[in-house]
């Protein structure tokens, strides 16, 4: 027990790194997802096709392979120099982006087309209709799926420890190497992940109630 308590400040540092990487990656991932989803729905065939390839490639390869590609693969090229954290954030962001793109696309397409017709019949442009009518409604519906994907991305950040990012998982490994208390330390690490994820799902249910449509 004492070992765990002594380790806590170090694990806490790791947790802060995990949270930082997660928050930046999830924001970037959301932006990527939104852009890719809109490209997927665009009437321009080429954009459509590029967006589909992006989604297929990212979904069709393991995130660990993507991480190795962005960190070791790209860095093996002479003109590229990515630090660990950037490579890690980019990997999680792009990975989440591909899944978000599909969530957003499905959310937009599931909306009754009468909504868009009503907006357009009033003289709103397609961009205005998207911004004021379609997306606000789609996002409400997507919230539960968004949370789900965010939780997956948070857990994915633990993989970044393998390229030496000092996140919660990596700090746990270091503490075990120093104390040999694998059982206690992994339980402490697990509890810390669990608490963060639990808070995330509470936030999601709060938002769902807040934005309920009726």
């Amino acid at each position: 027990m004492e070992v765990v308590i002594n380790s806590l400040p170090y694990l806490w540092e790791g947790l802060l790194v995990t949270l930082k990487v997660f928050i930046i990656a999830i924001i970037l991932g959301f932006i990527i997802g939104l852009v890719v989803a809109l490209l997927r729905l665009s009437p321009v065939k080429l954009l459509n096709w590029l967006a589909k390839i992006f989604v297929d490639v990212i979904r069709g390869t393991p995130i660990l392979v993507q991480l190795f590609f962005f960190y070791f693969g790209l860095n093996s090229l002479e003109f590229v120099s990515l630090d660990r954290e950037t490579a890690g954030i980019v990997t999680v962001a792009i990975n989440a982006g591909a899944y978000y793109a599909e969530i957003i696309r499905a959310g937009i397409q599931s909306l009754d087309k009468g909504q868009n017709e009503a907006a357009r019949s009033l003289g709103l442009t397609s961009a205005q209709s998207m911004r004021y009518v379609i997306l606000p409604q789609s996002f409400r519906r997507m919230l539960p799926t968004f949370t789900n994907q965010a939780i997956i991305s948070l857990k994915d950040t633990s993989l970044l420890s393998v390229i030496g990012i000092a996140d919660l998982t990596q700090k746990g490994q270091v503490q075990i190497a120093a104390t040999f208390k694998a059982f206690e330390i992994w339980i402490a690490v697990g509890i810390m992940y669990f608490v963060v994820i639990y808070l995330l799902s509470l936030l999601s249910s709060f938002l769902e109630r807040r934005f309920r449509l009726d």
């Binding site: 009754d112 009468g114 909504q115 017709e117 009503a118 907006a119 357009r120 019949s121 009033l122 003289g123 709103l124 442009t125 205005q128 004021y132 009518v133 606000p136 409604q137 409400r140 449509l213 009726d214």
Partner: protein, 243 residues
Amino acid sequence: MRNIIEVEHLKKSFGDNEVLKDISVSIQEKEVVCVIGASGSGKSTFLRCLNKLEDITDGQVVINGEDITRQDTNINKVRQEVGMVFQHFNLFPHKTVLENIILAPMKARKISKAKAVETARELLTKVGLAEKADAFPGSLSGGQKQRVAIARALAMNPKIMLFDEPTSALDPEMVGDVLEVMKQLADEGMTMVVVTHEMGFAREVSDRVLYIDEGYIIEENEPNELFNNPQEERTKLFLSKVL
């Protein structure tokens, strides 16, 4: 009176299915035209071609002097002058009644919020729903929703109003309120094209009735003539079923 709507040899196909085969009609300013016909006759498609909610396959549609079949016509500008009311209301469920009404005037016409709200409240009073300004559409009855939808379209101060079976999705006891608002609008001189199954309304309010079947206008006349003295066999058959 000038023609505010001019349709010439309009054709519309969905894939191999030719829904409108050859429609030509002119509608004058302040005229109220009802379009009747069986389900699948093409009457709704015809209406939806007038504001280009459907892409036009062939022919010419001129609205308020603008040829909307031309690629370089700004369709958004034309639509600002053409209000549309849908069978299923299509109110924006995430916005209050008032927000539904002020959205397009503010974003498309760039009217100030204060001015848009003022107009919206006047229109809500006109359709008898002033007290529902802050309600969400989900809490309204069908008839109330449709009256809000009419107010929303009117907020753009359009020159033409299109109605696509505006009472077909309503409970019978709600139909009267909506028709009353539409009648008032007609009396004020609004140009209206109304696709409807309400023969009573067509007879009482419209200046002209078009009977559409299988993608053609089979017969058109002033309502009393068309209902009492139809010339075409198909019109007689249709009227015998609905009257």
